[in-house]
């Protein structure tokens, strides 16, 4: 018995709700709806027990759905259209995903396309399973003897002539098309590995001549900090810019060990570094004033302030980008230009 039996499971909860719904849409608890609910109740509660009236699988559709022109048939045609529409939408959204990915940088649009693809594909599958799959336990009894070839061909011909099978072929084609579009969309994403976004990440809003201001908008003067002091500063008029935030420290000028190219970047011992950790993007707010170390409180990445914020410990493997400074005639600190490197986490293995 067990060897000759194959149970076809389907979605339990959703299936039950859908069955109840179908019974309702078909004008009250029709025989079909009732049967489905009973079959499902049997399957869900006593998974291994045999239903009351096991049916041998055949291509014959469920009773009540074969009369042409009946309300049931109209509903099924509508459902076919719905499923078709869902799969078409999934296919179109998949293609749209690729198009958006190649032509625009809008992450919202990209995510929307992906969500639309998944949602409509899922809706199509659910509708399909609800309307066109058998909602009952079916037992296939193994045939002991094979039929003569002529009989097999006749049965196959009959089987393929059935409109439900035709419909299934169309839907299956659409499903594979959508899956192929999925695959294409996924594969096309590999383009991003070939082209590091270095130039796109590099610029921030720091421009030559921008004054350094505090959170309250006060400009920072050459006399603002003592040696061993620190301050968080922003470019003037853009205090809300996260990737432009800077940690400003003042150190003893005689201790500086900056590279020769940066010799004039630190007027009066003022050093400015990006406040965004190059490891995971936390705020590097922890300044050890005795050893002149900047630390990230998240993962304890440590940067040597005197030598251009080279990492000396912790997981970060890239120096903090330095903001070149100069003092104008009034003593206000201004930026010589943008950061020395793109600020933020080193996802792309940048130098």
């Amino acid at each position: 018995m067990n060897q000759g039996r194959r149970i076809r499971p389907h979605g339990g909860w959703i299936g039950a709700a859908a069955a109840a719904f179908s019974g309702w849409t078909a004008g009250g608890p029709s025989t079909k709806g009732l049967r489905m609910q009973m079959a499902m109740a049997g399957e869900n509660s006593f998974g291994d027990t045999t239903p009351d009236s096991p049916r041998v699988f055949s291509s014959e559709p469920a009773p009540g759905s074969q009369q042409h022109g009946s309300p049931q048939e109209g509903l099924r045609n509508l459902a076919t259209l719905l499923v078709l529409f869902a799969f078409m939408l999934a296919l179109g959204a998949s293609i749209g995903f690729v198009v958006v990915y190649w032509t625009s940088a809008s992450h919202a649009l990209l995510g929307g396309m992906a969500a639309l693809t998944m949602a409509s594909f899922g809706c199509g599958l659910v509708l399909w399973s609800h309307w066109f799959m058998k909602h009952e336990q079916v037992i296939d009894v193994r045939e002991t003897l094979s039929s003569p070839p002529a009989e097999q061909q006749a049965v196959t011909k009959d089987f393929l002539a059935d409109d439900q099978v035709q419909r299934r072929k169309l839907l299956l084609g659409l499903v594979s098309g959508t899956l192929a579009a999925f695959a294409a969309a996924f594969v096309s994403l590999f383009r991003s590995f070939a082209r590091p976004p270095y130039p796109a990440l590099k610029p921030t809003i720091w421009r030559q001549g921008d004054r350094l201001v505090t959170l309250e908008g006060r400009p920072v003067n050459i006399n603002t900090l003592d040696v061993g002091s620190t301050l968080s500063v922003f470019p003037e008029n853009r205090i809300d810019a996260e990737n432009a935030q800077v940690v400003l420290v003042r150190v003893n000028q005689n201790l500086l060990r900056l590279p020769a190219a940066r010799a004039n970047w630190a007027p009066s011992g003022y050093l400015a570094y990006s406040r965004v950790c190059t490891h995971a993007g936390c705020s590097v707010g922890l300044y050890e004033a005795e050893l002149c170390l900047l630390e990230c409180p998240c993962h304890q990445s440590t940067f040597d302030v005197l030598s251009g914020a080279q990492p000396t410990g912790g997981p970060a493997d890239r120096e903090l980008p330095q903001l070149p400074l100069y003092a104008d005639a009034d003593g206000n600190l201004r930026a010589r230009g943008d950061f020395s490197a793109p600020p933020g986490p080193g996802f792309w293995g940048l130098p």
């Binding site: 959170l215 003592d226 061993g228 707010g285 630390e295």
Partner: protein, 235 residues
């Protein structure tokens, strides 16, 4: 006659130390606050009351924001931590004089109630990386030091330390941080010292992750108990 000489020598020997040390004590116990400070406080709190940083911790905290005369008197009388009590060393007049000197001459940092919300913003930018968002302290692993908990620190100590920046701590001079901002930070830290705890046990204010973990553990215990009861209390 020898008896008289002996008596005189004995009397001299007996009185000499009294005279000598008595005079010395009278000389070294000044009555004005500056002199008392110079004699007893300067070693740990510094010449101008700015504090002295020890090797691993603050030796003497800054007194530059200490405006509470009675607090100084109490501290000198009873001591706290590594600071000894001066009850038997100084007279009450001397203690009162040094308290007056500290609060009127040395305390130059103004301190007033500040804005709590603004203080919170500044605390999270400048203080929380080391001292933790709950001000309960934290380790600075690669520098090999610890940021102390701020729970038992007075407002005066906090304000003085922020301006001073002892040891590994950066300083925040008034040119970089206004007096109002300093007041706000101190107000916020005082709020953090005893924040409201609607959940019953604050769990050291480690935050929602720790509290969530405990909630999950408690939930598992309850589920296990329910399963045990459902099996009739067996196994």
């Amino acid at each position: 006659m020898p008896t008289v000489i002996c008596a005189a020598i004995l009397a001299f020997l007996f009185l000499a130390p009294q005279i000598a040390f008595g005079r010395q004590a009278a000389q070294s116990e000044p009555s004005d606050g500056a002199a008392v400070y110079a004699a007893h406080c300067i070693k740990c709190h510094g010449t101008d009351g700015g504090g002295i940083a020890g090797v691993v911790s603050i030796m003497g905290p800054s007194l530059k924001a200490e405006h509470d005369r009675q607090a100084v008197v109490d501290r000198v009388l009873h001591g706290k931590g590594i600071m000894p009590s001066f009850k038997t060393v100084l007279s009450s007049g001397q203690i009162d004089a040094v308290a007056g000197y500290v609060t009127t001459e040395l305390a130059t940092i103004p301190l007033a109630p500040g804005d709590l919300a603004n203080g919170g913003t500044l605390f999270r930018i400048y203080c929380s990386p080391c001292h933790g968002v709950s001000a309960r302290g934290g380790a600075i692993a690669f520098a090999g030091t610890n940021a102390p908990s701020l729970v038992d620190k007075s407002a005066a100590t906090i304000a003085g330390t922020i301006r001073w920046g002892p040891g590994p701590m950066p300083s925040f001079p008034s040119s970089a941080m206004t007096d109002q901002q300093l007041d706000s930070i101190v107000t916020y830290i005082q709020f953090l010292q005893h924040p409201p705890s609607p959940g019953g046990t604050p769990m050291q204010y480690f935050g929602s992750v720790a509290e969530g973990l405990m909630a999950w553990l408690a939930a598992f215990v309850i589920v296990g108990l329910a399963m045990w009861i459902e099996r009739g209390g067996k196994g």
